[in-house]
């Protein structure tokens, strides 16, 4: 993709007889253009985040208007020693993100490679790939809820045809999380496919040809030519998908409801924090969980971008 380096040429605005305010507007266009959008986002982030940070140091609960007392780092101590809800939620968030991402990247890469070279009917495959991606996540959750229903769902019928007994799927204490991971993989693998396909299409053919002439096998060409060239795109895909997977909420709420099910089977950090805030009104504790969650996201992003810079060196 073409990148244009911007060199500013100082130039007075328009014709010499323009009124003063027009000239002022033109001279200050850099910030006049950028400021409204930045102010909008900053106003919605900075103050709320600072407030969440403050709430995390108080015992606020019940109503946000109620009196609350400053308790210092007590919430952090309580949350970080909470092995009943917090640490299992961290574990589920990590499992969900890592496993879903792994499947999405491997499957996404495989499908993207299959679609790389043009063939008849490719257009229709691309359309099919787009459909899960744009479907409303809550509706997708409901759709799979019917398919995975232990009694009337299609999934158990299909298993029945091949002689496998019915599974509890979303209803099972241990199968619920893997099932939601499956749903996430179904909906978001196409995202990875599209990004990697864009990356593959932008690669030049020459290194491939050179490797072919040198007698490299298909696997060798993928491993030593395509994959290294595709690494920057792959990192973008992992970064985008990873952030969204960490924050998954819609399909978990749609399939298991509040608290991630009656045994908190799919309660990730996001679902836990939502429940604390809006089902139990434990604002102090929920803010603590959210600050820690935010730190985890920043940490994960930092680790990934550091790897990316290293790869570029």
């Amino acid at each position: 993709m073409a990148t244009i380096t911007t060199t500013k040429t100082p130039r007075s605005a328009g014709a010499p007889d323009t009124p003063g305010w027009v000239r002022w507007v033109n001279d200050h266009r850099k910030w006049l253009f950028a400021a409204p959008a930045m102010a909008f986002v900053a106003a919605l982030i900075v103050f709320p985040l600072a407030w969440t940070g403050y709430l995390s140091l108080t015992d606020a609960e019940g109503s946000v208007r109620a009196e609350s007392e400053f308790v210092g780092l007590q919430n952090y101590f309580d949350v970080l020693t909470d092995t009943e809800r917090f640490w299992p939620a961290v574990g589920r968030t990590a499992t969900f993100t890592v496993v879903a991402l792994l499947f999405e990247v491997v499957l996404g890469m495989a499908i993207a490679l299959l679609l790389w070279r043009p063939f008849k009917g490719q257009r229709w495959v691309r359309v099919a790939i787009l459909m899960p991606l744009v479907a409303t996540p809550v509706a997708v959750g409901m759709m799979w809820r019917l398919i995975f229903d232990p009694n009337i769902g299609l999934a158990n019928q299909v298993l029945g045809w091949v002689g496998i007994g019915p599974q509890p799927w979303l209803a099972g204490q241990h199968s619920a999380l893997p099932t939601t991971i499956f749903i996430d993989v179904w909906q978001w693998t196409p995202m990875v496919v599209l990004i990697l396909l864009a990356g593959l299409t932008s690669l030049s053919d020459e290194p491939q040809e050179a490797a072919r002439i040198d007698g490299a096998s298909t696997w060798q060409r993928f491993r030593h030519v395509t994959l290294p060239l595709l690494t920057p795109t792959l990192t973008v895909a992992i970064l985008l998908r990873g952030i969204d997977a960490l924050k998954t909420f819609d399909i978990l709420y749609a399939t298991k409801g509040r608290g991630g099910g009656s045994f908190h089977e799919v309660e990730t950090l996001n679902v836990y924090a939502y429940g604390l805030s809006f089902d139990y009104n434990e604002y102090g504790v929920s803010s603590t969980v959210l600050i820690l969650f935010f730190l985890i996201i920043i940490g994960a992003m930092w680790a990934l971008t550091a790897r990316r810079k290293e790869a570029q060196r």
Partner: protein, 271 residues
């Protein structure tokens, strides 16, 4: 170079499997939306059933879905237009003046978990008597769509050579005039891309509306839950409701496939 025949066969088989696994669940949902609840419970009626419009009648008449469709359309449309008005000039400035740090401020909105902002938002907006109104929903959805517009359009403006504005300046336009009359008309494909994506993301958004809407301003993703009772689920109604939410957006994507794909993959190949 033609691929080997064995690979071609493998490709057909593998991609058929992929397409089937992606589309079959969606078709199953749509099929179920035309079945009575009795037929949904009967495995023998999986494919051979006499279609009924009863679920849709229930969704559109009893469950007031026409109102929620209008709500969803209005919120998504307003959030998209407002995001374009704020986002286009910002993306232009950030692209031309290479304002990487400022762009990062806007893109932060993509990273922060929405829940961490919702308690303060709820407090502030309820003090302003805005919770349950459309204003707060539009603002919260803009929080999703504005960064999208800025991100996509920055890449788009980067690809437009600066000589274009310079030619405009020579012709006596001001900088603002060059942006309005030269750059914006050339950016229609980019604006379409970011506008469509912003609409889709707003339409699909669930969490903000779950907290900030009330019975009258509910958007479709929240209204779906009307069909999930504590004791039992009205599967037919639920699938019809899910289809009503999803099908329009899938049809849009079908017709403007090119724009949706270029928006979703924007910036991915720059490294």
């Amino acid at each position: 170079m033609k691929p080997r025949p064995a690979y071609r066969v493998f490709r057909v088989v593998a991609l058929t499997f992929v397409v089937l696994s992606l589309l079959a669940p969606l078709l199953w949902m749509i099929a179920a939306s035309f079945k009575t609840n009795v037929d949904i419970y009967d495995p023998g009626k999986a494919l051979s059933f006499s279609p009924t419009m009863g679920n849709y009648a229930k969704v559109l008449q009893q469950a007031n879905y026409v109102e929620f469709i209008v709500n969803s359309l209005w919120v998504a449309f307003a959030a998209t237009v407002a995001s374009l008005i704020l986002g286009l000039p910002a993306a232009y400035s950030m692209s031309r003046f290479n304002m990487k740090k400022s762009a990062l401020v806007v893109l932060m909105a993509r990273v922060i978990p929405g829940v961490s902002l919702l308690v303060p938002w709820y407090y502030v907006f309820s003090n302003l008597k805005m919770v349950g109104g459309f204003g707060v929903l539009i603002i919260s959805h803009m929080f999703v769509s504005l960064p999208l517009v800025v991100y996509i359009m920055m890449g788009y403006f980067d690809s437009l050579p600066e000589e274009l504005e310079e030619a405009g300046l020579v012709d006596g336009l001001t900088h603002i005039g060059a942006f309005r009359r030269v750059i914006l008309p050339l950016s229609v494909p980019g604006i379409a891309t970011s506008g469509i994506l912003s609409f889709i993301f707003s339409w699909n958004n669930f969490m903000f509306a779950l907290v900030l809407s009330d019975a009258d301003t509910k958007t479709l993703p929240v209204a779906i839950f009307d069909f999930v009772g504590y004791a039992s689920i009205d599967w037919g109604g639920l699938m019809a409701a899910s289809t009503v939410v999803t099908l329009p957006i899938m049809l849009i994507a079908l017709f403007v496939q090119k724009y949706v794909v270029s928006g979703l993959t924007a910036g991915a190949t720059k490294g």
